[in-house]
């Protein structure tokens, strides 16, 4: 696990001290809200619909048990006993009181955590594949690079007032689990003639104008990565549309100038700044890598696992959906679902956080990950420990066997919390999960990703959901627009709109009709929803959603 230096600790402590004074001055009336707001946002503190919201960074989604326990402690002491894990691998606390926030930040600092650059027009939390260091298909662990980028971007003087927020994601595998094509910059670790390097994508993003990232460079060497990324952000910092908030993201800059022009400008800038990089960054990267060395994997037998798998159908069902192959023999990657049917996607109670921390400590080499799909991962668990682990998860409502299935829904907070929302997301997710649980169809349907956002900002990634749902306000009534065929992986695609939206009462039946259409018409169980959509297109779904109603009405 990476450990921060004394300098880092002193920097965070100083920031916290400053913020404590700012909060005191605000409460005493010596700062106006206009003066205070940018200061609180610099520390991840938003004011939402019903309360303040504190967004805490979890760099590349990696946590140890101590950190997870501290999050539990914060949830219990200063919030309402739970936290919300987000699609950018952060945690949000929905109910802190202003006066308590400095305490919370100090508590975070005790475990090397903070909320710096979780808001504002800066480089945000660098995200990474949640199976980093464990996945079978991995070329290299993406976290050392993510950590290098984090250190480089934190408090980077040139990048504190960018045209807009900036999001970077890294994957070390050809199978993209970090949504790199929907990020401002996506980095994929690749190998060329035995040399490790980076494929750099640029200009992806969701929100108002969703776009899939384009290849800026097929191969950037390790020595060139930091200057190359710096050149890219720097070019956008100069060209980015500060005149128009809706056109300020790099995806628009790339779109307006064309990828070739941007590539040429990046190259030009790169050549200017390259000599400033003395190689310390590469030395640092090597040093960081040692902190991410894999744990000492055990060589035990897995008989207990085999026997339990054969004899316990509940365990088997969970193992089939929630486990992923690990690169080390005898090990598995455990995905803990935070999507119990009817629960709020991404929420974990303080007790659940502690249980997960304990399990990571006892069985998981002290490592936890937050996935962008709002679940928690224990990346390294020996198979012989899985039956015991599963039993404990079950006791705490954490053993839902639904990873990748229809109830494993990403949902942003929507209008239940978010001041920017145009409709609610959470109740829709809850109702869909509950409905398909009642129908007992979930496992039959197989892989199907539903993603829901409460407004066009797309925090819930609806554009890249196999079924995407976007909540809108239609003349003072919640209305939900459906997209189909989105994909967040290496074959990323933006979903297509089906047609007019549905009211809150109609949306669950609408989703049901979509699923029925797929179940009725798929070749067989092996054809996934996405494959089916790619084969047949929109027509049967349109019929199911809009024509059937008309047919009934005409009868």
């Amino acid at each position: 696990m990476y450990s921060y230096s004394e300098f880092d600790a002193a920097f965070v402590a100083e920031r916290n001290r400053q913020f404590r004074a700012q909060v005191e001055r605000r409460i005493a009336g010596n700062l106006t809200e206009d003066e205070f707001k940018p200061l609180r946002l610099m520390n991840g503190l938003y004011l939402q619909l019903h309360a303040y919201m504190l967004r805490v960074a979890i760099p590349y989604g990696t946590l140890n048990s101590r950190q997870m326990r501290q999050l539990a402690h914060i949830a219990e002491t200063w919030d309402k006993g739970y936290g919300h894990f987000t699609t950018r691998q952060n945690i949000q606390f929905n109910w802190p009181e202003l006066r308590d926030v400095p305490e919370i930040l100090d508590a975070l600092a005790e475990v090397e955590m903070h909320a710096i650059q979780t808001s504002g027009n800066t480089i945000r939390n660098v995200t990474a594949d949640h199976f980093a260091g464990a996945a079978e298909d991995e070329i290299a662990d993406p976290r050392p690079v993510a950590e290098l980028l984090r250190q480089w971007s934190t408090d980077h003087p040139e990048f504190q007032f960018l045209p807009r927020k900036f999001k970077i994601a890294v994957t070390g595998s050809p199978n993209d689990r970090a949504v790199i094509k929907a990020h401002d910059i996506g980095i994929q670790i690749v190998e060329r003639e035995g040399e490790i390097g980076y494929r750099v994508l640029v200009g992806g993003g969701l929100g108002r104008t969703p776009m899939i990232g384009k290849v800026l460079s097929d191969f950037v060497s390790q020595e060139d990565l930091l200057p190359y990324i710096e050149a890219t952000v720097s070019v956008w910092n100069l060209l980015g549309r500060r005149d128009n908030k809706y056109k300020s993201r790099i995806k628009i800059t790339v779109h307006e100038h064309g990828i070739d022009d941007i590539r040429a400008r990046v190259q030009e800038r790169f050549e200017v700044i390259r000599p400033e990089f003395s190689g310390i960054d590469v030395a640092l990267l090597e040093q960081i890598k040692t902190a991410f060395a894999p744990p000492a994997f055990r060589q035990d037998g897995a008989e207990v696992f085999e026997t339990t798998y054969k004899t316990d159908p509940i365990f088997r069902s969970w193992a089939d959906t929630n486990l992923i192959a690990h690169k080390a023999p005898g090990y598995a990657i455990v995905q803990i679902s935070l999507k119990a049917h009817g629960a709020t996607p991404g929420d974990a109670t303080a007790d659940q956080m502690r249980v997960m921390a304990d399990l990571a400590e006892f069985y998981g080499h002290d490592e936890l990950r937050i996935s962008h799909e709002q679940n928690v991962i224990l990346p390294h668990v020996h198979k012989s420990n899985l039956p015991a682990l599963h039993a404990i998860l079950k006791k705490h409502g954490l053993a839902t066997a639904n990873i990748g299935l229809i109830s494993d829904i990403i949902a942003c907070p929507g209008m239940d919390y978010c001041a920017l929302a145009t409709a609610r997301s959470i109740p829709i997710a809850q109702q869909i999960a509950t409905r398909f649980d009642e129908l007992k169809l979930e496992h039959d349907i197989g892989e199907l990703k539903i993603k829901i956002s409460g407004c066009i900002n797309a925090c819930g990634h609806h554009h890249v959901g196999h079924i995407g749902i976007l909540g809108l306000d239609r003349a003072g009534v919640e209305n939900y627009q459906i997209t189909l065929g989105g994909d967040h992986t290496e074959t990323a695609a933006i979903g297509d709109r089906t047609g007019p939206g549905f009211s809150a009462d109609e949306i669950i039946p609408a989703v049901e009709r979509i699923v029925e259409t797929y179940l009725d018409q798929r070749h067989d169980r092996n054809e996934t929803f996405l494959e089916f959509y790619r084969r047949v297109g929109m027509t049967p779904f349109k019929t199911a959603l809009y024509e059937q109603d008309k047919a009934y009405a005409a009868e």
Binding site: G29, L47, K80, E97, L98, T344, M415, R424, D473
Partner: protein, 100 residues
């Protein structure tokens, strides 16, 4: 033709807790919409909003929200204000915990 003025309440978030609050006719900040002052006169609404904005030590982000009269005081006309009045739908621990 200028749009006809519809009744409003002055609402904001409490500075310390972030809670949704409403301005009452006797110049308090209440957690309950039913206690809010329903203002039918446009000039008065602007004045009351300005007074709210003059209390930054108590509230943040004051604005005028549409509301309609009822036997139980002002009622929301838009779902956003309905949710602000009651609290989030996923847990019974927002304002609804006190209201009901």
């Amino acid at each position: 033709m200028p749009k006809e003025f519809t009744p409003k309440v002055v609402t904001a978030n409490a500075l310390l807790e972030g809670d949704v609050v409403y301005q009452t006719a006797d110049d308090r900040w209440s957690r309950h919409l039913s206690e809010a002052e329903l203002i039918s006169d446009e000039a008065l609404a602007k004045l009351r909003l300005a007074q709210a904005e003059g209390q930054p030590e108590l509230v943040v982000g004051a604005y005028l929200a549409d509301a309609k009269p009822s036997d139980d005081g002002p009622q929301p006309t838009h779902f956003r204000e309905e949710f602000r009045r009651t609290g989030p739908s996923n847990y019974h621990h927002g304002k609804q915990a006190e209201v009901n």
